[in-house]
Subunit: 479 residues, 2 copies
């Protein structure tokens, strides 16, 4: 009990989830909006239903991306690269290895792994050959990979897109905390309260909605749709609405009903151990035990958790007019849990490989990062170009090409305008627009003197630098 | 004529092409082979048809990836990351911006862009809503993106997977060269030789096979399947089998037939200009003008090119038994060209955005890099872990957790075994296996003295380091 048992295969993944609705079009705040100007506008006007497509009257087709998907423009891409690099650094700091799997799997590989969510899987058309589906998450392909390669110990990460025919969520988030529960505890409580075994999964699916809709609605759904008696549901409500720190676990350990359920007590003991480890790692204050956390997917067998972003205090409440539920502004940005039986489902001898992992839903983090960048009005550079090779005089195209070749060979990030005789003003404006800090200017005089005029775009200072010192000077100024 | 005209939208892309056959299973050398041990075996035995899947007798399903696809294991992933980072650095050195587009597009977006290759497009099943297809390349989605966002000037790169229901090629390559031709020159020559206008595209498709099958076969296909007279085909053969440097261009300029064709002469003039630029860039010796280069895709309008890896001299010829053609060992690893009309196809007013670009077929480069790594027997590290936190004594799990938390907080890449009481030998063996250079050992004595025993895995030297100096010492030794 004193070790994190069975942590033999752990994983971190970044899902770039594309939640896509098959019938309605409710784009996320950044839905299919192609560039930051448009994003700003959409944010200002709360114009979240405006489709970012244009009907081509003449050619009679819609110029758009598929519903629920969007292009990533260079500004968003720059933010994306930064966020990915932070996450990747964290994975590597903890000794994780990367893997990759195909975007689609055999349909049967995905069958029977996702419960009610299975209807959201994208199938490929039968064009002869195998029946294929786009991956719905990275966990099932990972389990297939472990079974196929008979791997029992690995710490892996994977950064890949997954595909779901779902309605996109939206939300704005700040600071975050984590929720933890254990499937065994939940099932133990369900048993304790008198929910029949064969209804555990379907009732869990309803419980999973508790972060989105009110308890009253959850209660009604359990009674009316899941056919539970009001007494059972109310007893259940007393437990699954609990959340808090170590005290909640202690409270349950002493509960006359729960303490008689072996499965629940096992879970509580493991959660208390987990809490002691969280204290060592210095993150116990970031974690709440939430008895109402259920997670929809079928394959979890033990501890389950979600990382949730809380709305910052300056953030206005944003409750949709027609709904008083607590949906707006909150959302999970990472989630996961233990799935000890999934690999065994792919193994011919049913050998178990216990696994635990977390997936980061990167799109929500990105939309927050993008909003932040917009708010601060900071100009995001989408290139890393250090210097523009320019000329004030005509007929210097080939000289510019010669100089830029030398710069590129030395690893300097350099650009030049492709025009034959661009005006000096156009060249300087290009630098200001794209954030290039330096201009290397050549002309008749400079060539004769064996120098390059190096201009600082911000201060407008110009200095003649001997050609042989140019690379060193650019490196010095841009390091 | 003295500028690279119309280079207003240029692009570089990395395609991670999945060429997949709908009916036959001919995996590439690295096809679906899951790890490097198996790869080595497959290479040694030329066992390229062995399917890397296992039939699960008991559960009655195939444990495999879809045909023509493969997982990427941590070793391959490490090589992949290195290759990507080299390419990305090159994109950024030239001032390119990144974008991303969805993995699927509206089916109609892809319709009519690929000629005969269209049959290789993957369609998604109709599950209600829009008709979707997986992207076949990155060029058509890029053109759609430009038209949708009314962008006329961009240097973009994109690193993404594309999907083709094709037979995977195979081959081993070394040093490479580039071929250049111009669609206008090719079409000019076709016209000059008497090929009717309406056969230009279909004849180009046959010419495109000249790097894979012999001239005799190409000739026969033109006569028997494309219905050209032997005289026309033989005249054509004199031209399209030409290749070489500037001299070839001069030769054609002086050719009595070609010099009368305006389109061909325009192309020749542009190619000569291109050659002068290649000289300035110092790469003219890497480029051959190849009059037989046609490229299959419909959308090219001007210059077209391929980068081809040549077999190294030490490489054995590897001609399939049943084919004396020149297929084996050669292959294109990058290709592209000018497509001035594609964006206009998406624009309501037909506004043209001239584009030129290149796609790198990264899978072949990777298979070569992987082979190279195998050959040199070099151990590829799949993690970057600097130090393993270990203990020689039992009951130090929590102390190890405390120490590793401190290391992680300082940005040190650290691991520990998750077992409660691992043996010191297991911990040292783990370091040797995974290439971790340092071990930080704690026990009763070390805790009492406020030190950590730092062990160099290679030399086996051990030094006691005061706990407050540990981070600096690890950074010093692993920088």
């Amino acid at each position: 009990m004193a070790s994190i048992k069975c942590f033999s295969a752990s994983c971190w993944t970044i899902l770039v989830a594309r939640r896509i609705s098959p019938s309605t079009f409710t784009p996320s705040l950044l839905g299919s909006v192609p560039n930051s100007q448009v994003i700003t506008k959409a944010l200002l006007h709360q114009d979240v239903t405006a489709p970012s497509c244009s009907v081509d009257q003449k050619k009679n087709f819609l110029l758009k991306t598929p519903k629920g998907t969007h292009d990533v423009d260079p500004k968003q891409m720059t933010i994306r690269e930064k966020v990915f690099s932070i996450i990747l650094k964290s994975f590597k700091r903890h000794g994780a290895e990367g893997i990759d799997t195909p975007v689609f799997e055999l349909k049967e590989t995905l069958t029977g792994k996702y419960g009610e969510d299975s209807k959201l899987i994208y199938d490929l058309k039968d064009q002869g050959g195998e029946q294929l589906s786009l991956r719905y998450d990275l966990t099932v392909p990972f389990a297939r990979y472990l079974a196929m390669n008979k791997i029992s110990h690995i710490k892996r990460y994977q950064i890949s897109k997954v595909y779901r025919r779902d309605n996109p969520g939206r939300g704005r988030y700040r600071e975050f905390y984590q929720c933890v529960n254990d499937r065994r505890l939940l099932y133990g409580i369900l048993a304790t309260c008198g929910v029949p075994d064969d209804k555990f999964r379907t009732v869990s699916t309803v419980i999973d909605k508790m972060d989105k809709i009110s308890w009253d609605k959850v209660r009604r759904e359990m009674i009316e749709e899941k056919d539970l008696s009001p007494e059972i549901v109310d007893r259940l409500g007393e437990y699954i609405r609990l959340n808090g720190g170590l005290a909640v676990l202690e409270h349950l350990c002493n509960d006359s009903l729960v303490s008689q359920n072996t499965m629940a007590m096992e879970a509580l003991s493991d959660l208390k151990l987990l809490h002691s480890y969280l204290e060592i790692f210095g993150v116990a204050d970031k974690v709440t035990f939430d008895l109402g956390l259920a997670r929809g997917l079928d394959y979890y067998t033990g501890v389950i958790y979600e990382a949730v972003l809380l709305r910052g205090p300056e953030e206005p409440h944003n409750v949709p007019d027609n709904d008083t539920d607590k949906i707006a502004g909150f959302g999970s940005i990472a989630a996961g849990g233990r799935y000890d039986d999934l690999v065994g489902m792919f193994d011919s001898k049913g050998r178990k490989v216990p696994c635990v992992g977390i997936s980061i839903g990167i799109e929500r983090i990105l939309s927050m990062a993008e909003r932040k960048a917009e708010e601060s009005f900071k100009n995001i550079r989408t290139t890393e170009t250090q210097v523009l090779v320019a000329s004030a005089q005509p007929h210097y195209l080939e000289e510019r090409m010669r100089l830029i070749t030398a710069l590129w060979s030395s690893g300097i990030k350099a650009e030049m305008l492709h025009k034959k005789n661009p005006k000096l003003l156009s060249q300087l404006q290009y630098c200001e627009k794209t954030g290039i800090p330096l201009v290397a200017i050549i002309g008749e005089q400079e060539l004769r003197d064996g120098v390059v005029k190096l201009r600082d775009v911000t201060t407008r200072e110009e200095v003649n630098i001997p050609r042989e010192d140019l690379i060193k000077e650019i490196q010095k100024r841009t390091s």
